[in-house]
């Protein structure tokens, strides 16, 4: 059949590649700023938008969605065109996708430091940006499916399946987790509350790691590793098994982890068998990647691209081994809330995601600019510096995690805690934080070398925007199976059907997880003494969210002897029923504060927020001086109460009508309390404090966990 000539769009690949490098530097730099805040908590003295709680979401979002996101799109746009022997479906959609995504990142980089965030981890962006994300994702999906439809290659290579699965699943996850009720342009409340919100959030969190940081990168692995090693993937059979079992693994794992005890015994036994079996798909994938290099190990010694891939795939293996280990009860009790988790996710991010991106960039740049890489030696230097960086990052944090977890749990013979003051467990691990910051510095240095190397390469070469290619068009054949055709090859050429099946698989899986989550609300025992927050407390809670306090403080006391002894009565599900969104946190850089209410007086909180080191010497918490100068914004208080009522929080008509009046009364009361301290009167005299933000913050903190009395178990 006659061949057609056409052009691959290299320009879009180049744009995404440059964006990957740019956002990579930014994301890692913010990470480093955050790491240094652990050692020098005061170095960003009083600048609200550079405080830890606001920078940490910026770091995670920049690393995940900006750096890894752009690296995924770089690889997808390059490999999809070549695997399908066609240009992308629409240049316009490619451009909208690129610029839309960058605009979203810029919007995130502005709004997160300003304190506009929804508090849900890796989904912090506020509702207008969420909508933009969904729209741009739809553009990407149309472009991808359109390209598959107009392809000149009958069979769809396994990498593309991973892209399709990513596309479909991320859409479902993102929409469900971000259902929120807007109050103003940049403020919204999650439609879910408490336990339900937590379940939906971590259903999202767990699967987002799977379908944003894993499946698309596996797609890249299945294309770029064979290309770089110049030999086909070790076992294509294994890659098909890898794909389907990964997709189904997450569907299956979710309901099983959540509903294990509700299962009849035969299902539990079958489930256990599967748990063991399912380490094979991910390790099979790792082995598949590594063995692709069989007979090419001599090349690994010289070729930086392959070195990066080898460490990346090894990192994938380590993370996917550690993940299931962390789901065991005993290990989870140690790892949860500690730096172990931070180490775990960074092995994934720095090794698996970061090194796949770096290897791919070094491989692509010479092709995109039609020249040799500026310096192979520099790329090798990058590899060694960054590998050392990963080790210096992860090892100290593993040590820190274990150290802190064991200090939290140690008892004296008389039954008291050995380290009763939480601060002792923090100051102990400061040296580990220093080493971590050093590791991060190394990793960033390596990445800057990459940036320099690519800039020099680009300057030396000439960009080829459209690369000529030729291939024969596809002959029309029956959509039915042809004689002798096996099922899977037939399925692969039926794109829409294939995508639909993936969607069905994920949707059924999603449904069996989501339906119980939607029903759970009515199953949480209510506690009659738990009441909605007062207007002032609600405003204080929103400040807590704005400042990102939940990044360091949990509000979830586990039913362990060590936690009850340290923090007080363990947390009950019924206490969170009015929490839109939930604020349990996931890491205890500071202590849990679910029972902080009434533990100290108002003046203690006042002084502590002004300078934590006044009340707690050695603390690494930031200062919050702006809470003392900013007037509390009460223009939206009534709207907020109204929104809460719409979400089912039982405020009375009186509270609704007189929200501001009630707020001011409670604020005046707190100011009166503050004035009882002669020290306060000496420093502030008659200064107006009741209209300041700090008063709302104190009101919220003093309310926390006070609805039930110690020892009370309610109907739980």
């Amino acid at each position: 059949m006659e061949k057609e000539q056409f052009y691959y769009d290299n320009k879009i690949v180049r744009m995404f590649l440059i964006a990957t490098i740019l956002w990579g530097v930014v994301g890692m730099l913010v990470g480093l700023l955050v790491a240094f805040l652990f050692i020098f908590p005061n170095y960003m003295e009083g600048i609200s938008w550079l405080s830890f709680g606001r920078l940490r979401p910026l770091h995670t979002n920049a690393a995940i969605f900006a750096f890894v996101g752009n690296s995924i799109f770089t690889g997808v746009y390059y490999s999809t065109q070549r695997l399908l022997k066609t240009r992308m479906f629409s240049d316009a959609l490619s451009k909208i996708h690129f610029w839309g995504w960058q605009l979203i990142i810029v919007a995130a980089a502005i709004t997160l430091p300003l304190g506009f965030n929804s508090s849900k981890e890796y989904a912090e962006l506020e509702w207008p940006i969420d909508i933009a994300v969904v729209l741009i994702w739809v553009v990407f999906t149309i472009n991808l499916i359109g390209t598959i439809i107009k392809r000149r290659q009958r069979h769809i290579y396994v990498a593309i399946w991973f892209y399709i699965a990513t596309n479909v699943t991320i859409a479902i996850l993102y929409i469900f987790n971000n259902l929120e009720l807007p109050v103003s342009a940049f403020k919204s409340y999650s439609v879910y509350a408490g336990v339900q919100d937590a379940l939906v959030q971590w259903w999202y969190g767990h699967n987002a790691v799977a379908f944003f940081l894993t499946t698309p990168i596996l797609g890249l692995m299945y294309y770029f590793v064979p290309k770089a090693a110049n030999r086909p993937v070790y076992s294509y059979r294994l890659s098909i098994i890898h794909f389907w079992s990964l997709i189904f693994l997450y569907i299956w794992a979710g309901p099983h982890h959540l509903l294990y005890t509700a299962l009849p015994e035969w299902a539990q036994n079958l489930g256990t068998v599967f748990s063991v079996m399912l380490i094979f798909p991910s390790w099979g994938g790792m082995i598949n990647g590594l063995l692709t290099l069989r007979g090419a190990w001599d090349k690994v010694r010289e070729e930086p691209v392959l070195k990066f891939f080898v460490v990346a795939i090894t990192g994938y293996g380590m993370s996917t081994f550690e993940g299931p280990m962390l789901s065991f009860k005993n290990l989870n009790a140690i790892g949860h809330y500690t730096d172990w988790i931070i180490a775990h996710v960074h092995v994934g991010a720095l090794a698996w995601n970061g090194f796949m991106a770096a290897g791919m960039i070094y491989w692509l740049a010479p092709k995109l600019w039609k020249t040799d890489l500026f310096s192979k030696k520099m790329a090798n230097t990058h590899f060694w510096i960054a590998t050392l960086g990963i080790i210096f990052y992860a090892l100290p944090l593993y040590v820190a995690g274990f150290t802190q977890a064991s200090m939290w749990k140690q008892f004296n013979p008389d039954g008291t805690l050995v380290y009763g003051n939480f601060l002792e467990t923090v100051t102990q691990i400061i040296p580990m934080y220093m080493m971590r910051a050093f590791g991060g510095t190394l990793y960033l240095t390596g990445f800057i070398l990459l940036a320099y190397n690519i800039i020099k390469t680009a300057k030396a070469g000439s960009a080829v925007e459209d690369e000529l290619a030729e291939a024969a068009p596809l002959k029309e054949i029956s959509s039915k199976r042809v004689a002798g055709e096996k099922i899977h090859p037939w399925l692969e050429r039926r794109t829409i059907l294939f995508t639909f099946l993936v969607f069905i698989a994920v949707a059924i899986g999603g449904a069996v997880e989501i339906i119980p989550l939607m029903v759970v609300k009515s199953n949480i025992p209510t506690i009659s003494s738990v009441k909605p927050y007062t207007p002032l407390e609600l405003e204080g809670r929103d400040l807590y969210i704005r400042e990102g306090c939940n990044n360091c403080h949990s509000q979830m006391i586990r039913p362990f002897r060590s936690e009850v002894e340290r923090y007080g009565e363990y947390s009950k599900a019924g206490e969170y029923v009015y929490d839109h969104p939930f604020l349990w946190g996931s890491r205890r850089t500071g202590p849990d504060i679910h029972r902080i209410g009434k533990k100290y007086n108002d003046n203690w909180h006042f002084n502590h927020m002004l300078d934590p080191r006044l009340t707690s010497p050695g603390s690494i918490m930031p200062r919050y001086p702006w809470l003392f100068t900013n007037d509390l914004d009460i223009s939206n208080t009534s709207n907020k109460i109204n929104a809460m009522v719409k979400l089912g929080v039982p405020y009375t008509q009186m509270e609704l009508d007189k929200a501001v009046y009630l707020l001011q009364n409670q604020a005046a009361e707190i100011e009166k309390n503050l004035r009882q301290d002669p020290e306060f009167v000496k420093n502030y005299g008659d200064a107006n404090m009741k209209d300041k933000e700090i008063v709302a913050m104190i009101a919220y903190l003093q309310r926390l966990g006070t609805d039930i009395k110690t020892g009370e178990t309610a109907q739980n």
Partner: protein, 63 residues
């Protein structure tokens, strides 16, 4: 952390049907896929794994 609250899910009437559906779905699909994949002829597998390198594409496997 979820383990301390997920027992609320267990109290939903008839909730055990959901994990059973997902388990059976997984089991059936996984087994079927395994059989299909293992029965694929070696030649097809080789062709497919060479797709990233294929400049003279063989679209004629089943034509």
């Amino acid at each position: 952390m979820l383990r301390y609250i997920k027992h609320h899910l267990d109290t939903i009437t008839g909730v055990e049907i959901y994990p059973i559906i997902s388990l059976l779905l997984f089991f059936v699909v996984f087994t079927a896929m395994l059989i299909i994949v293992l029965r694929m002829p070696k030649k097809n597998i080789d062709d497919l794994s060479n797709l990233p390198f294929d400049n003279d594409i063989k679209n004629n496997n089943y034509e």
